[in-house]
């Protein structure tokens, strides 16, 4: 079986990150995808009627937005470190600023601190303008150091 480190290297080389997203089933359920722009990764949650919560607005289910941000952070940690395993979530905190409407949502992540075992990551999610976030979040992940 191909190792996670090899999968990450392959994804970076080809620019196709779908294989990595398939590692986390819920990321596929909600439809997360990601694209690389130079050094930056932008995560996208395409508009999907199955992700809706409040049908009146209609708005994306708040939990789905939070999960999208958590998964984006997990992928960011995976792509930016040489960990041989998927990062394991320790804690996650999200602040909601605006309703997530029924359209595409984007997220960008920033590793604020990479310790030997724990990595801190912050996430911003937006729809229309990056300067008008619908939510911000931060997460800690347990990251296994690469022995080799």
């Amino acid at each position: 079986m191909i190792s996670i480190t090899d999968m990450v290297a392959k994804a970076h080389a080809s620019g196709d990150y779908n294989g990595l997203i398939e590692l986390i089933p819920y990321a596929q359920v909600i439809g997360v995808n990601c694209e690389r722009f130079g050094e930056e990764m932008v995560f996208r949650l395409p508009r999907n009627p199955d992700n809706l919560g409040n049908p009146t607005l209609p708005a994306i289910h708040g939990g789905v937005i939070a999960a999208f941000m958590e998964l984006s952070a997990a992928f960011q940690v995976l792509l930016q470190t040489t960990t041989p395993e998927l990062p394991k979530i320790i804690d996650f905190s999200v602040d909601y600023m605006r309703a997530g409407l029924d359209r595409d949502t984007f997220a960008m992540c920033q590793l604020e601190r990479r310790g030997r075992r724990v990595t801190n990551c912050s996430v911003v999610a937006w729809q229309e303008k990056r300067t008008e976030p619908i939510a911000t979040a931060r997460a800690h992940f347990l990251v296994k150091p690469n022995e080799s």
Partner: protein
């Protein structure tokens, strides 16, 4: 003491959320303060390739939903209460071969804010998989959502014509979406 009226109300709220219908989340118990939901075992969340990350992200959705539902146990009438924030601690990886239970409680309600806590567990509530605390903003009577209110209070059968009838068992919906 279980309260069948509150249980029915919580279930009607869950059934109005498209994403929750897809996951098949159900109310198993509710009273004036807390609610317990169950997420049945399902293949769409099972991961064969790795053992370390069985339900990544999904727990966040469950805790957010259960916390929102717990506010319905407390409020005399449906109000729109958007989530202000949510914080989750993950204590251990859940086994995907067992259903997940989420017990959520709205432990304090003020005029503007509601405070919730939720525990995710499998075998016993004393062995939590994850724990979450949340705050919800009360919009009160200033902002009304008559349609959603009518659905949650059981005054109309279904949200819209293209919505499945609420008496359709969640089991079938889950299979259709799997």
């Amino acid at each position: 003491m279980r309260n069948p009226e509150i249980e029915a109300r919580c279930q009607r709220f869950l059934d109005a959320l498209a994403h929750i219908r897809k996951l098949g989340l159900r109310v198993i118990q509710a009273d004036e303060r807390r609610v317990t939901l169950v997420l049945p075992v399902q293949e769409q969340l099972a991961c064969g390739k790795t053992k370390t990350y069985l339900l990544g992200g999904a727990l966040t959705t469950l805790i957010d939903t259960a916390s929102a539902v717990s506010t319905l146990c407390v409020l005399p009438e449906f109000e729109i209460a958007p989530t202000l924030d949510l914080r989750i601690d993950h204590m251990k990886s859940p086994a995907h071969s067992q259903p997940l239970y989420i017990q959520a409680e709205c432990y304090r309600t003020t005029r503007s804010v509601m405070f919730t806590r939720a525990t995710v567990y499998q075998t016993s509530v004393d062995e939590p998989v994850a724990f979450g605390i949340g705050t919800f903003m009360r919009l009160g009577t200033e902002v009304v959502d008559p349609k959603m209110r009518a659905v949650v209070e059981g005054e109309i059968e279904r949200y819209e014509d293209d919505y499945p009838a609420k008496d359709q068992p969640p089991q079938d919906k889950r299979e259709a979406n799997a």
